[in-house]
């Protein structure tokens, strides 16, 4: 309650907050990651001026920042209802569409934003990611699935996914109902990561490690093929990368893309020198 009182009443408590002052303070708190306080100030602003576009836009941002997609969409749509070419609202809705897996809608919204503001850097960056999705190779090593039973998981290995960069599942171990969905989700994340790496001037994506509370998923890719291995989260990164490198080489052999047989060597034995060298580089 003290927090609410402080936000609704200006310092000294002499005069009520104006809309402009409420939004200025909200923006300041947003810059400090104080989303709850910022939201209360925006609510205050909207109470005073329910039709304020800036307040609705700020509300949309704050919902998004708090990972509340549905109210964020509502607010972005409200803004677009008043200003159909509002670039920031178009970008906000485009990002949500991408989150929801609707690349077509995302593309259309970004195109609208860029039509009116061709130099909108965030929209251009996201458009790159969407284009990367559309142009991901879909035919590369798809001629046949690797004989996954020959790809020996390390002792602690929990799951293996072999997929094309467009998310098409080639093989999984163990065979799971959601392996296709996992492969598609990985592909979406890797495309975004690849675009971010390129934007940061770091070059094409080769490896990834994504950790959650339970697993660490080690991934290797060349932009066409993706091999990912789930291991316990406590796995040493060097060991995990060695394991995924070994499976990468074995997969290439199974697909007929490698000149020599890696013989699906036991865990921790890198299948090729380049893989081992690369592992050392990142660890």
């Amino acid at each position: 309650m003290p927090l609410l009182r402080r936000l609704w009443t200006p310092r000294g408590g002499r005069a009520p907050l104006t809309v402009a002052e409420a939004l200025r303070r909200a923006e300041q708190r947003r810059r400090e990651g104080r989303y709850t306080e910022a939201s209360l100030l925006v609510e205050r602003g909207l109470t005073l001026d329910p039709g304020n576009i800036t307040a609705h836009l700020l509300a949309a941002y704050l919902h998004t920042a708090r990972r509340a997609t549905a109210p964020a969409k509502e607010e972005f749509r409200w803004v677009l209802g008043r200003d159909p070419n509002h670039a920031r609202a178009l970008l906000g809705l485009a990002r949500i569409a991408l989150e929801e897996g609707d690349a077509r809608t995302c593309h259309d919204l970004l195109r609208r934003a860029l039509r009116f503001y061709p130099d909108f850097p965030e929209a251009a960056a996201l458009m790159e990611a969407v284009h990367a999705r559309e142009t991901a190779p879909s035919t590369a090593p798809s001629a046949r699935a690797p004989r996954v039973e020959r790809l020996r998981l390390p002792g602690t290995g929990r799951a293996l996914i072999v997929a094309r960069a467009d998310g098409g599942l080639l093989a999984s171990q163990p065979v799971a109902d959601d392996a296709k969905d996992v492969a598609e989700a990985q592909a979406r994340a890797l495309r975004l990561a690849a675009t971010a790496l390129t934007r940061a001037g770091l070059g094409p994506l080769h490896r990834a490690i994504v950790e959650d509370g339970r697993d660490a998923v080690f991934t290797r890719t060349d932009g066409e093929l993706v091999v990912s291995l789930a291991l316990p989260r406590a796995t040493d990164p060097t060991q995990g990368l060695l394991d995924v490198n070994r499976l990468w080489s074995a997969t290439l052999h199974e697909l007929g893309l490698a000149a020599t047989s890696p013989a699906a060597a036991p865990s921790a034995t890198p299948a090729d020198t380049s893989a081992a060298d690369s592992t050392r580089r990142v660890s």
């Binding site: 990972r67 970008l91 960056a125 790496l197 934007r199």
Partner: protein
């Protein structure tokens, strides 16, 4: 946990959190082989950044936030735990991403960076943010 730890004295005074955010970014930037760091909200808004001049902040932040949300929403759809940290490596460097209460921490580093050290530093930073921001967010 091996490697350097962030040395920050975060107070719970909400009025100084803007300074604390900048401290966190600067401490991450000081780590060995680190080129830059930023904190971005889940909506892509840059809260604090210290990146090389060659890197445009806003586009990278937009992509990092979108990537973070993609990892979170995919995990939710697949009924799996949400990601804590992620690392993406390329020929010329590595990008780290960590989820936190106020958004995502991003670190850009050279290829030879000590992965464990950065992961430890990111875990420290996330814990500091959690400690400093959780009480205020709960109050609201």
């Amino acid at each position: 946990m091996s490697g350097p730890r962030l040395k920050l004295a975060l107070e719970h005074d909400s009025s100084s959190r803007g300074g604390h955010i900048r401290d966190i970014v600067q401490e991450l930037k000081r780590l060995h082989w680190v080129r830059g760091a930023l904190i971005v909200a889940a909506d892509g808004f840059v809260i604090a950044a210290d990146l090389p001049h060659t890197v445009a902040v806003d586009p990278l932040a937009a992509l990092a936030a979108t990537l973070g949300r993609e990892l979170e929403t995919s995990a939710a759809r697949l009924r799996r735990p949400s990601f804590c940290t992620a690392l993406f490596s390329a020929d010329d460097g590595t990008m780290f991403l960590a989820a936190c209460r106020i958004g995502y921490l991003v670190v850009l580093a050279d290829a030879q960076v000590n992965v464990q050290a950065i992961r430890g530093a990111l875990a420290d930073a996330v814990a500091l943010i959690e400690a400093a921001w959780a009480p205020a967010e709960a109050t609201g």
